[in-house]
Structure formats: C-alpha cells, structure tokens
Amino acid sequence: MSADAVFKALADPTRRQLLDSLRAQNGRTLGELCQNADMTRQAVTKHLKILEAANLVATQKCGREKLHYLNPLPIHEIAERWIGNFERGRLRALSDLKQSLERSEK
C-alpha cells in the first residue's frame, strides 16, 4: 500500500468521519454507515472504496452481509516511520545526557 493512498484517503474529512464511526463501533454494514452519514449511499460507497484501497478499512463477509472494520496498520506504519524515529532520538539523547552527567560526577 502506498503512503500516498493513505494520506490522500485521510485528507478528506468525510472519510475521517467514516473511520471515526468505525472506531466507535467496528464491523458495520454499508447500511449502518449510511445511517450515520449525511450523504447518499453512492457517496458512502465511493468513500469506502478509497479507504479500502488505502487499506484503512478491511472488509469481511458475514453471511450475506459485508462488514467494515477499521484497520489501524497503515497509520501505525506512518507513525513508526516518522514518530518512531523521533522517539529513538529522544531516548538516545537522554541516555547520552545520563552518561555525561554520571561521568562528571566522578
């Protein structure tokens, strides 16, 4: 999955709203998602397709219904790629500081 697809999917407030409603209650049908959204069924379908293509929404068949689940992995990977590096840097800085303080105590 390309990061471009993820950022593009997340850039739209309506799609973020769909993700929010899945976060509130995971595993919803198209019909249930339409009830909460202020737009046509066709519009919801189109937005869900973009979210699925970005792997932000996973679907599973349950009998005759298709249920939609929030998939947090693409966002986690973005966090790992950028924020994770900052965390590591901060930890290294702290450990360097500790070492230099402990050295100066001697």
Partner: protein
C-alpha cells in the same frame, strides 16, 4: 457482546515465509519483542506464548491448520487475572498471495472480553509492523519500551 478486530497488512514475501514467521520460535522471538510461540502446529495441539524469562503469557489450542494459508488458535491470556477470567478468544490468520505481495489478515474475536481485547488491539499493530519489517528488510523494529502489552503485563505481575 462480541468484540472483533481485523488487521490487514501486505508484505513483500512468500506465504511460506509468513507461515514460518508465525510459527517458528526463532522468528517470533525477533519481531514479537522476545516472545516465543510454542506448539507442534497440528490441529488440536496445545499452543502457548512465552516471555524470554520463561513465564507463559498466553495459552490455548490449535483449532485449524492449513499451511501456508490458514491458522486458527483458541487464545487465552494467563498472567493478568481479570484477563485470564475472560476465557478463550479466537485468532484467525489468513495468508493470501496478492500480486507481488502477500496479504496477511489477522482477525481476533472475543465474547465478553473487554480487558483482553483492549490489550490485544494495542499490541497487534506493533507486532505486525515489526513482522513486516523483519520479512522485508531482515530487521525487526526495535522498541526501547518493548511491546506495550508485555510492559503492562510485566507491571501487572511484578
């Protein structure tokens, strides 16, 4: 109330390598923050997850096995009493070739298990990102804080 979480990741590797990564201790140890999975991986066989210090953190049974396509585990937590009391959850691993990548879907379901599913839902993204990194780059993700779940478990049991 049934809680169900679905995680999907696409990994540039082969189904066999994902299978080995899920089932061989030498792999799980490197991307699952030191935890090993132990089982003979036959249907009906016991399964357990062990910290590097030897403590069993989770246990259960292999329910279905179809190498390298599908693995289903009955999965129960062992260390934190309120999570252990919630009983068995069900974890399904599905591996499907998808162009030049392989799609790995992890579905974790539990009936009436709010504590367990909360711990699990925080842990899976870290574990699966680390697995993807290991298979694609040969390096698992290093986390100074280790897996948040195992940290919380260590605190709860120390």
């Amino acid at each position: 109330m049934t809680d169900k979480y679905v995680y999907v990741t696409y990994i540039r590797t082969t189904p066999e390598k994902i299978w080995d990564a899920l089932t061989k201790p030498e792999f799980t140890r490197s991307y699952w923050f030191g935890i090993t999975h132990e089982s003979t991986w036959e249907a009906g066989a016991p399964w357990l997850m062990r910290f590097a210090d030897g403590r069993v953190t989770d246990s259960g049974k292999v329910l279905e096995v179809d190498r390298p396509r599908r693995l289903v585990l009955a999965w129960r937590h062992e260390l934190v009493p309120e999570m252990k009391a919630e009983g068995d959850s069900r974890a399904v691993f599905e591996i499907e070739p998808n162009g030049d990548t392989v799609k790995l879907t992890v579905t974790h379901t539990i009936e009436n298990g709010p504590n367990f599913i909360k711990a699990v839902s925080g842990g899976w993204p870290q574990v699966l990102s680390s697995l993807k990194s290991l298979l694609e780059t040969g390096m698992a993700l290093q986390r100074q804080e280790a897996c948040k779940t195992s940290d919380a478990l260590a605190r709860a049991t120390s």
